[in-house]
């Protein structure tokens, strides 16, 4: 067995590792993983707009967590807008302080789109529940980051205990009020979040931070699976443009990772005002 602890430092071990992974049909993944890992030290750029996390403030692990904050802030606001759309409220309306139960347990609207009544009801239930969950993720990261918290997008709160809405933050890129259209868009948001977290893992030095990020990451995967179910899709993961897997070509077996650069391009061009 190769001593993996020396793998990254010892060229001979690395060659043996690659040979073994190639023999197992995993060569491409091994190469990309080693390249990604070896490049993990190059994320010490600042917010100059270039580097591994273009536009994300901070350096090192703080920058990675601010990357997560940028994602969660975006997700939380998109969910808030989506819930308003689905429940017939103005998109600027803050989340009810009474929690998701304030929105009812069944779909109140008349535009289910392609969903039957059963799927519309559970889809609406998940929409309300996850809107609050994503806000909780955002607030969790804000607390973890403390004074280091910063994001290129608009924060929708400035105080986690007394949220202040910034309605100019993000655009929900559909005018459709059909529930199936709303959930289809949120599915893309969630799936992108999954690939974003997985792609960020090689750049995190602290295992404690890896664990914190992974604790959020798997809930994004769970949300994705739930929305896939409602929309009649496979549980996934079902692929991502430019994404990479440990075992390329595998279907539904391993999550995909995307580079922070690719994710940030998608997020800023699609959802930022």
């Amino acid at each position: 067995m190769i001593n993996l602890e020396t793998l990254m430092r010892d060229p001979m071990s690395r060659r043996q590792f690659l040979a073994r992974m190639t023999a197992a049909g995993l060569g491409a993944a091994a190469i990309s993983l080693i390249a990604g890992c070896g490049g993990g030290g190059d994320n010490n750029n600042n917010s100059s707009g270039s580097g591994t996390f273009p536009g994300i403030p901070g350096s090192g692990d703080i920058q990675v967590l601010n990357y997560a904050l940028a994602l969660e802030t975006t997700e939380a606001d998109l969910y808030r807008q989506a819930l308003n759309l689905a429940s017939g409220k103005s998109v600027d309306t803050p989340l009810s302080t009474a929690g998701p139960s304030a929105y009812g347990s069944t779909y109140p609207g008349g535009q289910p789109g392609t969903l039957n009544s059963t799927l519309a009801n559970i889809g609406y239930l998940y929409l309300a529940q996850y809107a609050y969950v994503e806000a909780a993720h955002r607030d969790f990261l804000l607390v973890q980051l403390g004074h280091s918290a910063d994001t290129p997008g608009q924060l929708t709160t400035t105080n986690t205990t007394n949220p202040v809405l910034d309605k100019n933050g993000y655009k929900f890129p559909t005018a459709s009020s059909k529930l199936s259209d709303i959930l289809t868009l949120l599915r893309v948001v969630e799936e992108t979040g999954v690939t974003a977290y997985l792609g960020a893992v090689p750049f995190i030095s602290s295992l404690a931070y890896v664990q914190a990020a992974a604790s959020i990451y798997s809930t994004e995967a769970r949300h994705s699976a739930a929305l896939n179910y409602v929309l009649g899709l496979d549980a996934g993961p079902s692929g991502a443009a430019g994404g990479k897997q440990p075992k390329p070509g595998a279907v539904n077996e391993f999550e995909y990772a995307q580079t922070p650069t690719a994710v940030l391009h998608t997020v800023t061009t699609t959802f930022y005002k």
Binding site: A30, P202, L207, A212, K247, N252, F254
Partner: protein, 246 residues
Amino acid sequence: MATATPITLYFTTKPSGANYPNPTIIPGSGDVKVLNFALALELLESTLYNQAFARLGNGTDLKGQPIVDAKGVTITGLNVGASDPIYKYVKEFGIVEQEHASFLLSALGGDPYPANVGFAFGMNDLTSSTAVGKLIYTAELTGVGAYLGAIPSFVPKSPYLQIAASIQGTEGRHTTTVAIALNALMGNGAIETAPMYNENHGIDIATPPDNVLYLGSTGIPGAAVVPGGSALPGVSGLNGFVFLVS
């Protein structure tokens, strides 16, 4: 890798005479030890699905063969039918878990450890697809927490962190999909699809490896609450992962 001590893994009620060894029974050190831990979980899960497929179907496993569990019990079929909400996913996810296990075996160099383990789930005591689904749900949810709990044991910036996480995400998807399928049988809201906003910040909870391996002797921490914010779905006799040296 050196020849491993043969072990038998049970998943249900504490077997008579079972002891609960220190998790050092998982061989290796550093990343290798973590991968062996992950392999044990994946073998458990893939075997669970294989036995569940036989139980919900006609008694034959995913390869169409009769199946006997680690206690020597031949699994009999409930013949629930192809339209059953749980049965639909047992085959699909069972194949995925087999792929996870074979991938980890390859990454570890194809060494047989712990391929010489057996699993017993008391499958014939589960008399409905709901009961089988609850067991699968709990195993998958435990898997999510186990992968999270293993992260601190990796070497920092190990390439295997990303690989393990890529599996962890699918465990999360399986957990949620089976929860929804169970809710279709039990009523919406019976089981949460993911942690709620007011439960641990809406994020999944890590279960340290020792706790995963010792759930059998200590019970589920927090009484009826499983990490992840979902109510333990009341599988009779379920004690978690019990590792028994044979």
